[in-house]
């Protein structure tokens, strides 16, 4: 009986919106960083093997790809920490919100944490000089930092704007590979078109991937078809699609975080106003 009641009480304090957002954030970032990294590696191999014979032609591209991969490492690390931080903030503020309504019984740690949100301990108890638990003091300091949903909303807002650009840019490689794949479909089934197969090309220079003095720079006809049939091309194409989906999922999770944090902020603010009446 006591155990069941304890579990029910524990579940009441779980921030389900933050849990969903954190799961979506980790999933999206893992998809974007993992698939993006492998897709960039695959692109590098395709360019080296089929589109250019001279190292100087694609040296700049390799540097750009490596720079992107380092950025991906940094992004993965940052979002892992930030996701954990947001989840902790969600647990904390949700616990504070439910405590205000009396739906939740807190421990010593909870009391120390919630004090910073509800405005501190008031009444006769504050007059006596009682010695606080060391655990309560640690939680008090932690609560001062975690108990500000408005700060988290601001940071998440800035992250959302930045990630919007990442999301828009990740659509471009999907577009490139889709067009190349469409051209290969036309080469594979020539009855649909009246153009000669030899004139259907994929020109990496036209996509801005290689400089214009690269040789050969483009692949035409049956050579292009053989590239599209390789497992490497198919894998890279699907990896870029998965990276694009991952970027979208991350963006949605950040927005869900902001909605939940704004809601908690509004509740705490209103309750603070309510105690003044």
């Amino acid at each position: 009986m006591g155990l069941l009641e304890c579990c029910a009480r524990c579940l009441v304090g779980a921030p389900f919106a933050s849990l969903v957002a954190t799961g979506l954030c980790f999933f999206g970032v893992a998809l974007f960083c993992g698939c993006g990294h492998e897709a960039l590696t695959g692109t590098e191999k395709l360019i080296e093997t089929y589109f250019s014979k001279n190292y100087q032609d694609y040296e700049y591209l390799i540097n750009v790809i490596h720079a992107f991969q380092y950025v991906i490492y940094g992004t993965a690390s940052f979002f892992f920490l930030y996701g954990a931080l947001l989840l902790a903030e969600g647990f904390y503020t949700t616990g504070a919100v439910r405590q205000i309504f009396g739906d939740y019984k807190t421990t010593i740690c909870g009391k120390g944490l919630s004090a910073t949100v509800t405005g501190g301990q008031k009444g006769r108890g504050s007059r006596g000089q009682h010695q606080a638990h060391s655990l309560e003091r640690v939680c008090h300091c932690l609560g001062k930092w975690l108990g500000h949903p408005d700060k988290f909303v601001g940071i998440t807002y800035a992250l959302t704007v930045v990630w919007l650009l990442v999301f828009a840019c990740s659509a471009v490689p999907v577009y490139i590979y889709f067009n190349t794949w469409t051209t290969c479909q036309s080469i594979a089934f020539p009855s649909k078109t009246s153009a000669s197969i030899g004139s259907l090309c994929a020109d990496a220079r036209m996509y801005g991937v290689l400089p214009w003095n690269a040789f050969p720079g483009k692949v035409c006809g049956s050579n292009l078809l053989s590239i599209c049939k390789t497992a490497e091309f198919q894998m890279t194409f699907h990896l870029f699609i998965a990276a694009f989906v991952g970027a979208a999922a991350t963006l949605v999770s950040l927005l869900t975080f902001m909605i939940a944090a704004t809601y908690n902020f509004a509740v705490l603010k209103l309750m603070g106003r309510g105690t003044k009446f």
């Binding site: 309504f101 909303v153 807002y157 959302t160 704007v161 919007l164 650009l165 999301f167 828009a168 840019c169 990740s170 659509a171 471009v172 577009y175 889709f178 067009n179 469409t182 051209t183 036309s186 649909k192 078109t193 009246s194 153009a195 004139s199 259907l200 090309c201 994929a202 020109d203 220079r205 036209m206 996509y207 801005g208 214009w212 003095n213 694009f244 979208a248 963006l251 949605v252 927005l255 902001m258 909605i259 939940a260 704004t262 809601y263 908690n264 902020f265 509004a266 509740v267 209103l270 309750m271 309510g274």
Partner: protein
């Protein structure tokens, strides 16, 4: 004497009325509405003109002709996009007004917590519905933003080719629209750096103007997404206020009833005491 007092009260009431009226303005909703209107106006206006410029460039320099019949060529697609833009502009003009009105009413209800405003279940349902609808619109605008980055990318490549033409003297490089998916595979519409059309295209201001219009349209779509984010934050905060204000109203009602009961009991006892004395 009484006249002076009445005039003083009248002026004071007027001033208080102004303060109360200003207090009810939903500033967050105002900012979000301005951002939404700016974003949608940029996206629809610049997008429309950019599509018109694209049609001119394709017809003038790439010698594409508008085909008769029901074939889905690039010109038909551009016409469809223009009609979609008209629909988006009209729809979001109305939606912005709806959200602004909702913001006014909700903020007014919250500020006047113990006044004449009564928060009903219907109002809470409307707020929840607005949250869900704005969430879906935000997802749609995300797709629009990603899609709008593609023409920016195309024009950036063409612009880069024009700028780099002088670097590859003698080489005859060709620009094939099929690789961008603009024309069908059957049509071979190339324009090469050695041709006259290419030079005229690069020298004209039309290419530059269309490129910049697409960039501004992309910025407008991004602004619309951010406006939707603002609305979601405002709506969720209002939802929290409305929900908890409803609880406080119930609490106040119960409190009033209890006080009334206590008052009645006290009066009854006073009467009983009076009767006993008699």
């Amino acid at each position: 004497m009484e006249e002076n007092m009445e005039e003083g009260q009248t002026q004071k009431g007027c001033f208080e009325c102004c303060i109360k009226c200003l207090g009810g303005i939903p500033y967050a909703s105002l900012i979000a509405t301005i951002l939404l209107y700016a974003g949608v106006a940029l996206f629809c206006g610049c997008g429309h003109e950019a599509l018109s410029g694209t049609v001119n460039i394709l017809q003038t320099y790439f010698e594409l002709a508008r085909t008769a019949g029901d074939t889905l060529d690039v010109f038909t697609m551009i016409d469809i996009f223009k009609y979609v833009i008209y629909g988006i502009a009209a729809a979001f003009f109305v939606y912005g007004i709806l959200l602004m009105v909702e913001g006014f009413f909700t903020t007014g209800a919250i500020k006047d917590l113990y006044g004449d405003f009564k928060i009903t279940t219907c109002g809470r349902c409307v707020s929840a519905w607005f949250i869900m609808l704005t969430y879906l619109f935000m997802l749609a605008w995300l797709g629009v933003t990603a899609f709008t980055s593609l023409p920016v990318y195309m024009y950036f490549n063409v612009w880069t080719i024009c700028r780099n033409t002088t670097l590859v003297e003698g080489a005859n490089l060709c620009l094939d629209l099929r690789q961008f998916g603009i024309v069908t595979i059957g049509e071979e519409k190339k324009i090469c750096t050695a041709s006259e059309n290419f030079l005229r295209m690069c020298e004209s201001t039309e290419l530059n103007m269309t490129f910049h219009l697409f960039i501004v349209a992309l910025a407008g779509a991004g602004a619309a997404v951010i406006a939707m984010v603002h609305y979601l934050m405002v709506l969720s905060a209002n939802w929290a206020y409305v929900k908890d204000a409803c609880r406080m109203q119930k609490y106040e009602d119960i409190k009033s009833k209890e006080e009334q009961e206590l008052h009645d009991i006290h009066s009854t006892r006073s009467k009983e005491r009076l009767n006993a004395y008699t």
